[in-house]
Symmetry: C2
Subunit: 143 residues, 2 copies
Amino acid sequence: MEPRLHIVTLGVADLERSYQFYHHGLGFPTTRKPESGIIFFQTGGACLALYPADKLAEDVAPDFPSARSRFSGVTLAYVARSKDEVRDILALAARIGGKLEKPAQDLFWGGYGGYFSDPDGHLWEVAYSDAWKFQPDGALVIE
Amino acid sequence: MEPRLHIVTLGVADLERSYQFYHHGLGFPTTRKPESGIIFFQTGGACLALYPADKLAEDVAPDFPSARSRFSGVTLAYVARSKDEVRDILALAARIGGKLEKPAQDLFWGGYGGYFSDPDGHLWEVAYSDAWKFQPDGALVIE
């Protein structure tokens, strides 16, 4: 197995609403439309996909429960280039139908950031730290 | 906001157990040890992180519920290079403490694959399709 995460799929209640949020709201590029039944975004090395949550559960197994708690146990993180970008993205997310879960603030590990949730409650951390270094293609340097 | 997903963090009940599963079991490289409190794996363009689930919920907000349902509403996907690799990875995952959720099989969209869950129930699809193309660095071509 290569050390690679190819696709992260978020189960959503309303594909049109989530498409609006991610594509028109956050600006994630895609050639797909909600009519295609699934949306793929190329997100720099990994792919973010949106798929109806009930179908996603069914894709795992026919009898797999589709009920979800508020906490998924999974968070997605976007590492911003500045504190201003952190604040801008959190404000943008709240404006387009997301929810501000944690206002931008100094963090215990030395960074600065906050959380928003998307229309289905999927959690995104938006953080900045001058300790994070980027690769030329924009990916993080992980040490 | 750049279209980028930098980090996917999985909340885990036992960091040592999950470290064993991902690092020694699946072979994901990292320089971190469970003692550091968080594990980062460089997974080709995105970073996969492991962090105690209760602390992850608390990181969102002090009163954020940490209880989780069986279905997180999020799946991670690994795109294999062959049907054999699909079968090998599912068998490996089951051998090292994961659970086979869906045996390898022909899929409705033309691919071949199955699902395993990690020790905390996080869902991984392992799939192959000759319709998927890879970029030179190993990432998927998303159209």
